[in-house]
Symmetry: C7
Subunit: 95 residues, 7 copies
């Protein structure tokens, strides 16, 4: 969903922009749920306008017909187009 116009500001209600939320996470742990059967937990090192993200000290959770597979990865870049949900501070699907 998208909008050509900037969102009207909620009169008198303070709000948090999605990118502000991500920016506050730099240096901290974040849980990323992809559109596919993969989820990642790691330390957020950076992101760009397309919400492509760089994580470090990553744990990947892959859901397969045989159950959940857990893999340790180093620095990892995730394509923003494939990201569905971001949970700052989240510890992943096993927490």
């Amino acid at each position: 969903m998208s909008s050509a116009a900037a969102p009207p500001t909620g009169g008198g209600v303070s709000s948090i922009l999605p990118l502000e939320l991500i920016d506050r996470c730099i240096g901290s742990s974040i849980w990323v749920v992809m559109k596919t059967n993969r989820e990642f937990v790691g330390t957020l090192l950076g992101f760009d306008d397309y919400v492509n993200m760089v994580l470090d000290d990553v744990t990947e959770f892959e859901t397969t017909p045989e159950g959940r597979k857990k893999t340790k990865l180093g620095q990892t870049l995730l394509n923003g187009n494939n990201i569905c949900i971001l949970i700052p501070g989240g510890e992943g699907p096993e927490a």
Copy 2:
């Protein structure tokens, strides 16, 4: 579906723009149905031009072959591209 031209205004009929509806929800509860098998209920903290949304005090409902799975989450960012339906004040699929 999209249109290059602004929608003509309904002569004499007052209308609500979709973003106005979202903006009025800031600080209140909203039910978000994703394109995938996930739904979220939480307090809307903010959104941007792409209708990426920040929710707080979130309950996630995930429909799996084994039934519906309910998970409590804190602040959560949802990718606007994956959002299908928004229901202000909605209490989720179990209400």
Copy 3:
């Protein structure tokens, strides 16, 4: 399908632009068929350039392997990208 050029006007034939049709529906009932297994009938409150739509007094019809599920909703916002067919005055799949 899209076109960079404006459509040529049918010489001497009066035509209805798609957005005109939607605009005439404001305040009236409309049936919306989504790309997914969901359909909605409700009163059209408004729409924007992306044909994101606000409906009120909504009945949702969800087709599941167990049959059709009918749910009453209040104000509901539908993502224009997921809309497949609009039928002004339509009473839904059970009419």
Copy 4:
């Protein structure tokens, strides 16, 4: 498939632009095959740059596991993004 450049004109060969073909159909019958399991036959009332189309006196053909389902509809708006094939004068899958 798309092209940044306008198509070169066929030297000495007269050609028909896709939108010309649609425009000639206004007021006449057209058969529309969607990307999904739905097809529509109706009178073309109008279309826009995105080839969103308004049809009238519509017959919808829906292919389901139980066979083809035929439904009569009035004015109907089809999302151009979901249109796959247009056949002017076509009488539908049962002709």
Copy 5:
């Protein structure tokens, strides 16, 4: 796949641009393979920037679980977004 920059020209090697190839086909037979289970053979009447195509004297080949179904159509417009492969002079899947 796309590129912001124009492709570098192959030094000393003559090349054919994709649209040149299509343009040379106007008035001749072309075989079009869609992304879905449909293929078309017909005389190319025209095309536009989005490679939406107008064919005439069309034979449609639809692959179904019951085998290949062959249908004769008149003028037909194909949505360029759904086109996967074009074979000038091709006689279709049965040749």
Copy 6:
């Protein structure tokens, strides 16, 4: 994945741009793996900004439930949106 900014140049490391690689292939054999169940090997005649490609002396490999089907084609145009992998000089899935 995409980026608004040009990629920074690797300091002191010579690199090959993707389009340079394709351009060097003009007149030579290339193996193209589509997103679907089709692969093509042929001589590259040309390409455009959208990496739509013209091949000649083409062998098509189609993977079906009954096994791999091999078809000889002449000049063939491939939609760049459907291309997944390009292997210059590649001889196809049977090499």
Copy 7:
């Protein structure tokens, strides 16, 4: 997910932009996980704004119903649209 505005810079926290990470990999090994059932490990030769990538000395891992298939390839170009995850220095799914 995308954003019209540049991401705010994390005050006092140094961050790594996704493209910086890729750029640092030129000349080194990288593991690329596609959206489909394919993964690639090779030496990164270059990339462009769309994160189309050129790899050399490539090992392709294809997951099929019969198990994982490993293929050696030379220079290979990957469509950035199909890339899901990049892992600099990664040795692939068998490491």
